[in-house]
């Protein structure tokens, strides 16, 4: 699949420690602001498909609020079960007032 770059202005306003979900052509993608560095990853938990952006971000760890699975937002790695698989992460960069995510 060809990679596409989407630009989002809304996420640029995300404060440190915050996480939001945006829709990228039908795929929910979460964006987290960890100390001024942005990370983009699949918003959908691999366990029971809850939105990860609904949970809390603690450092670089996002916790799913439904069943407690935890992921590293930098790599997508599972840090705590019951998630059976990692989440996808996407390259993201700041471009002026926007964020660009490569999907």
């Amino acid at each position: 699949m060809a990679s596409v770059i989407v630009t989002t202005a809304k996420a640029r306003e995300l404060k440190e420690g915050g996480v939001i979900a945006i829709d990228v052509r039908g795929t929910p993608v979460a964006i987290a602001n960890v100390g001024g560095t942005f990370y983009a990853f699949d918003d959908t938990c691999t366990h029971e498909q809850c939105s990860l952006a609904e949970g809390d971000l603690d450092g670089t760890t996002i916790a799913c609020m439904c069943h407690g699975a935890e992921f590293d937002v930098r790599t997508g790695k599972v840090l705590a079960p019951p998630a059976p698989a990692p989440i996808k992460v996407y390259p993201i960069r700041i471009n002026g007032d926007s964020l660009e995510i490569e999907i």
Binding site: E48, E54, G55, D56, M65, C66, H67, G68, P82, P84
Partner: protein, 407 residues
Amino acid sequence: MKDSVHVIIGASLAGATAAITLREEGARGRVILIGAEAELPYERPPLSKAYLRGETPFEHAPIRPAAFYADHSIETMLGSRVTKVDSDAKAVEVDDGIRVPFDTLLIATGVRNRHIVIPGADLEGIYSLRTVRDADRIRAEMVSGRRAVVVGMGFIGSEVAASLRHANVEVVAIDPAMTPLFRVLGEPVGHRIADLHQKHGVRTIFEDTVRAFEGADRVRAVVTARGMRIECDFVVVGIGVEPVVDLLGGSRIHVENGVVVDEYCRTSVDGIYAAGDVANHYHPVFNRRIRVEHWHNAIRQAAVAARNMLGKRVPYDEVHWFWSDQYDVNLQYAGYHTAAEEIIVRGSLAGDSFLACYVNEGRVDAALAFNRGKDLRRVMPLIKSRRAIRLDDLRNETVDLRSLAAA
């Protein structure tokens, strides 16, 4: 020094987690995982929910892929029931006559379903749920328009009732208490759960018990103590569990409501540990013994037990936590309480999302989240801290619960 032999009884979530942790922590000797079921260790939570509804295949449920065990030199003995633990000679006996010596032993035998002892209990069409085989038998009965009676509205009964309704099975649910989940959640929250089931079409009968099952070969009706007769096509019974400890008869292992262990998961016999549903463990946060029959405890306590089996000294002091999904509602409970002086609610009990905090002497002992997992995770450090707080802060939704735990 020769390498130790670690034996684990129970190829379950707790048993598998202990085996995995032993290897992660560098155990060099043999790790032998003995299980009564034929399957490799698998996740049980889906059995009453997504698996029962036919939404996820069993292939999604293994705790680790089959190759993992060989790759990590974890020996599995499946379909093997341990009949005896010889705590003096340090060996377990398996029902096919094999004797397995150990240096350290973990008892993770879990619990078995309590049987209902009433006339007709041996009729066809009456099920309980613990294993994937049980779930398959219930699934085979779940045809739209059929009529089921669910006996017992604890977590299993409640989740099964929800899954049955999802399949458009007619459901009558019977429980001796005033509400579903009454023993754990108490009255106001219990009423909210009753309301949830009723709104999804479950006919509920509370404060009544089942006196008999009727039918020739197969169950055709359920008769209650108060004299109701409910015709049905099948029955699912979920009336609680009992710890599996019969194999410990004659051993020196102290048994009282399960296997008694300290905060290091140690039994009364050196080198023998217990974890998971079977372990009646001393919990330093609540300063009492607790036995917990939930997923999170199985996984976390077993990991601690494994570390201690390797000579470390790690206490198990996590706040207990569990979830239950029913219909479109995600319930989560954390902490431990038996009674509460006061229940403080964030949000509204009648609404679609709230957090109910069970409070004694100004301290939050436990909390129940109804579609509010984020608040539940935020209140857990407060529960663990045992701090007394201003209850108004708990009610006030603008106060971040995470701030209340800070000293």
